[in-house]
């Protein structure tokens, strides 16, 4: 053990996206010694890709908005499986967090009277998303990055954690490698914050990058923490589908917020054909009213294109299945049509959606100001993750915290667009604050050299094998399988088959070999990440089998309706004592009366 380079900190933050950077800033402000580790360079984490905006009831554009409406919208979107306490804290604290970003240098788009502008988004009753064109995530991560580098935080860029270390029940640190030289490092810490993001790489068609291999989910699982809501994987309705090499790249919901409409090959706006009863009161029934809504008419109701993502994704899938899709197997998303409604439409689109304009022009030879885009569903976001205390964000493992996409609770069965960036700020801040408290109250845990040796041995194993098969082949096969068998529409038979396949893939992964040395070797890294993807895929599949109903992002062909019985608990996954995967149903705590009343009022 002594041979490993060792670092000591009070709080160790794993992940440098919005959640990690916000947590680190807060912990550092509390006066403790902080380190941040990330797989990529600073400023490149997934948060940089977020487009549409940050949801917060600032009420700058519509003064009827308040935390209460935001709370009710979030719970409705999550089909009431959300942690109501997290939804409450989130709605109350998001506005201050957005203002704080401005104080740290973010430059948001402005209202006519010079305040932060907000835009419409699916499932939000009022225009609520603070934004910067369609590159809000870049603004957010850059602001946090530029703030954090002046706080004396130790940043370890291009380092990957492969194992969490424990001292008895509590956390003691983490073990990982540096990409450039392949050396191992031991990070001792009094508390650890997981902020590792999502799992999108478990699927073939995804808007997510190579980093999204569910590392945090797997690290927490092996460390004995509980995870919940793993059956809820969000498929975003609008990803690019053509040409093949860009398949999955996101087309922001902002396109629809600015007036973009969905049509099938017959030119029909099919979203009008299927509006769920819970949203009927809030949805426009004429094209005219829908247009007025996107242009800020406070008396108009939102167009059906802005219904929740799970619903829109399934409607698109239906159109395609029933033969009304676009040439490459999607549907049309049209923003160009607004030229019938406004002068200078082309300029307006370029100003409001610059990176979408760019993306289509450069990658698909399509000018979105003149012609429609072809879009289809893409794996986008993980609602499930580490189960945490809603106030402190601490997991079942003392000293281990989680925030951002790798945590669970806020979004329930389906996340509303814009609620992730605000989640990162609100709960990143809380995790940082409580991790600092924990660090002040506890000393460093003892490092168990056996754990370190085991983690090292496992990480190096692929070099020992002359495996005929490389890691990429297994990864691609797994992605194809998950897409086919545990995708947007699920059924028992297929998922049982998926479990069988996962076991086969595990056996293949055990034999995977890598070539070359340890220095900056992506083959080796992929071999390590593969184990995480496999565990995460198994968690998703087992949780999805257990939920025998359709709710939010989880849709079962064999149980196509929502079942109240299943509305009273979350599904929780944990590693059993013998290493087997354990699934249990955990009742949702009773909601306080005043929150219930808010939900009733807003129905």
């Amino acid at each position: 053990m002594a041979e490993h380079l060792t670092h000591e900190h009070d709080v160790l933050v794993i992940g440098a996206g919005g959640a990690g950077l916000r947590a680190a800033a807060e912990a550092s402000a509390a006066g403790v010694k902080v380190a941040v580790i990330s797989k990529s360079l600073l400023g490149k984490a997934h948060t940089v890709m977020a487009e549409g905006g940050i949801a917060a009831a600032l009420a700058n554009v519509d003064d009827r908005d308040s935390w209460r409406v935001h709370f009710a919208d979030t719970m409705r979107g999550g089909q009431y499986l959300n942690s109501w306490r997290m939804a409450e804290l989130h709605a109350k604290e998001a506005p201050a967090c957005v203002r704080e970003l401005e104080a740290w240098g973010a430059v948001f788009d402005r209202t006519a009277d010079g305040r932060i502008l907000q835009r419409n988004f699916g499932g939000h009753r009022y225009p609520r998303l603070a934004h910067v064109g369609d590159r809000t995530g870049l603004e957010m991560i850059r602001t946090l990055q530029d703030h954090d580098v002046h706080l004396g935080i130790d940043v370890f860029m291009e380092y990957t954690v492969v194992s969490l270390l424990k001292d008895g029940d509590r956390i003691a640190g983490a073990f990982g490698y540096e990409r450039e030289r392949g050396r191992f490092h031991l990070f001792r810490a009094k508390s650890v914050v997981l902020a590792t993001g999502g799992i999108g790489r478990a699927y073939k068609i995804t808007s997510n990058s190579w980093e999204y291999t569910g590392d945090g989910h797997a690290l927490a699982y092996h460390a004995g923490a509980s995870l919940m809501d793993m059956e809820f994987v969000q498929f975003h309705p609008t990803g690019m589908i053509w040409p093949p090499s860009v398949r999955g790249i996101l087309v922001t919901e902002g396109v629809r917020g600015e007036g973009g409409v969905l049509r099938n090959k017959d030119g029909r706006r099919f979203m009008f054909d299927d509006v769920p009863p819970a949203y009927a009161n809030q949805t426009s029934n004429t094209e005219e009213e829908g247009w007025r809504y996107t242009q800020g008419d406070k008396n108009a109701r939102r167009p059906p294109e802005l219904l929740t993502r799970d619903h829109v994704a399934r409607c698109i899938r239906r159109e395609v299945r029933e033969g009304r899709g676009s040439p490459h197997g999607g549907v049309f998303l049209d923003i160009a049509w607004i030229k019938d409604r406004m002068p200078n439409a082309a300029e307006h689109i370029k100003k409001k959606l610059p990176s979408m304009y760019h993306q289509f022009k450069q990658l698909a030879d399509i000018d979105i100001t003149a012609e429609p885009m072809e879009v289809g569903p893409t794996t986008h976001y993980m609602m499930g993750g580490v189960r945490v205390d809603p106030d402190s964000q601490m997991s079942d493992v003392p000293g281990l915290f989680a925030a951002g996409e790798c945590g669970a609770g806020l979004h329930g069965a389906n996340r509303l667009g814009g609620n992730s960036l605000s989640d990162l700020l609100v709960f990143g801040k809380r995790a940082g604050q409580h991790a600092a408290c924990y660090a002040k109250e506890n000393s460093l845990g003892v490092i168990n050299s056996g754990q370190v040796a085991a983690a090292e041995k496992q990480a190096l194993a692929p070099f020992e094998r002359d495996g005929a098969e490389g890691p990429y082949a297994v990864q691609h096969a797994l992605q194809d399988m998950m897409q086919d068998l545990v995708g947007i529409v699920r059924q028992e038979k297929e998922m049982l088959l998926a479990l069988k396949r996962i076991q086969e893939f595990k056996a293949r992964a055990e034999r995977v070999g890598v070539t070359g040395n340890r220095e900056y070797n992506p083959g080796w890294h992929t071999a390590i990440d593969l184990n995480n993807l496999l565990i995460v895929s198994e968690m998703v599949t087992r949780a999805a089998l257990e939920r025998k109903e359709s709710r939010g992002a989880h849709f079962r062909d064999d149980f196509p309706v929502k079942d109240d019985k299943f509305g009273s608990f979350n599904i929780v996954v944990r590693k059993g004592p013998g290493g087997e995967m354990h699934i249990r149903r955990e009742p949702i705590p009773e909601m306080p009366l005043e929150l219930k009343q808010i939900i009733e009022e807003m129905k």
Partner: protein, 249 residues
């Protein structure tokens, strides 16, 4: 399906050579797709940085047929595929492995620039008022994805290796975003002149030409900053004096 050949720089710490890989190419592919296919099928340990594959993160910078570009935004149909496509790492930074370079210098430069410091809030709720047209100017600079391609082509860094005297176009853009932010009250003009070395830029505009975000680096950021430096340090009287005394430069 047709094939194309990619001549990729392989090696560590500057030592290395080009190696040819032939792979299948299909409609709409970008250079990064081809590199990934080669990595998955022929060279598992080929080192390359990428994250978003959509021109948003600025990770995948390289020199493609000698031109500094994002690999994920360079379509194969924009390149002549009859001959091999060369892909090399950026030249202005120390080499690590294959297509990866050590860009850490950029991060230390960023740290040396005084951070955002806002004036007291305009409203009692702690918020500010800013007109969109003022925001527009700053937002152009804040589009920067830190791909460092502009740093790569700037001759002051690439050819003259003056990394210790000049912060480079990326960070002049960063300084401009701060200086032109109507809320900011920090003064970076003296530092621009001295530590940041703005005088070393002789407005060749090579940086502007390669910026994937189409930021008008020279005209909108560097020249206005140069003017501010001139206004501060060379007021009209001294300038006049210099002209007459023949010491004008």
């Amino acid at each position: 399906m047709s094939t194309a050949t990619f001549r990729i720089w392989r090696g560590e710490k500057g030592a290395g050579k080009f190696q040819d890989y032939t792979t299948e190419v299909s409609a709409g592919m970008v250079v990064l797709d081809a590199v990934h296919r080669i990595q998955a099928e022929q060279a598992n340990n080929l080192a390359v940085r990428w994250n978003c594959k959509a021109g948003k993160c600025g990770s995948c910078s390289a020199e493609i047929n000698g031109m500094p570009k994002l690999m994920c935004m360079t379509r194969l149909n924009s390149l002549p595929l009859e001959k091999p496509v060369t892909i090399e790492p950026m030249k202005a930074f120390p080499h690590v492995k294959d297509l990866v370079t050590d860009v850490s210098w950029n991060y230390s430069v960023k740290k040396s620039i005084a951070k955002f410091k806002p004036r007291p809030p305009d409203a009692p709720d702690g918020t500010w008022r800013m007109a969109q047209k003022d925001a527009d100017r700053v937002q152009e600079f804040r589009k920067c994805i830190e791909c460092f391609l502009c740093q790569d082509v700037c001759h002051v860094l690439r050819d003259h290796q003056m990394h210790d005297q000049f912060i480079g176009p990326r960070f002049l853009v960063y300084a401009a975003a701060l200086e032109m932010n109507p809320l900011d009250v920090q003064d970076r003009i003296p530092a621009l002149r001295k530590q940041y070395g703005i005088g070393l830029c002789n407005i060749t505009k090579c940086c502007t030409k390669v910026c994937p975000e189409s930021i008008t680096i020279t005209d909108n950021a560097i020249i206005p900053l140069k003017e501010r430096v001139v206004d501060r340090f060379f007021d009209p009287m001294t300038k006049l004096f210099r002209v007459f005394s023949g010491s004008a430069r």
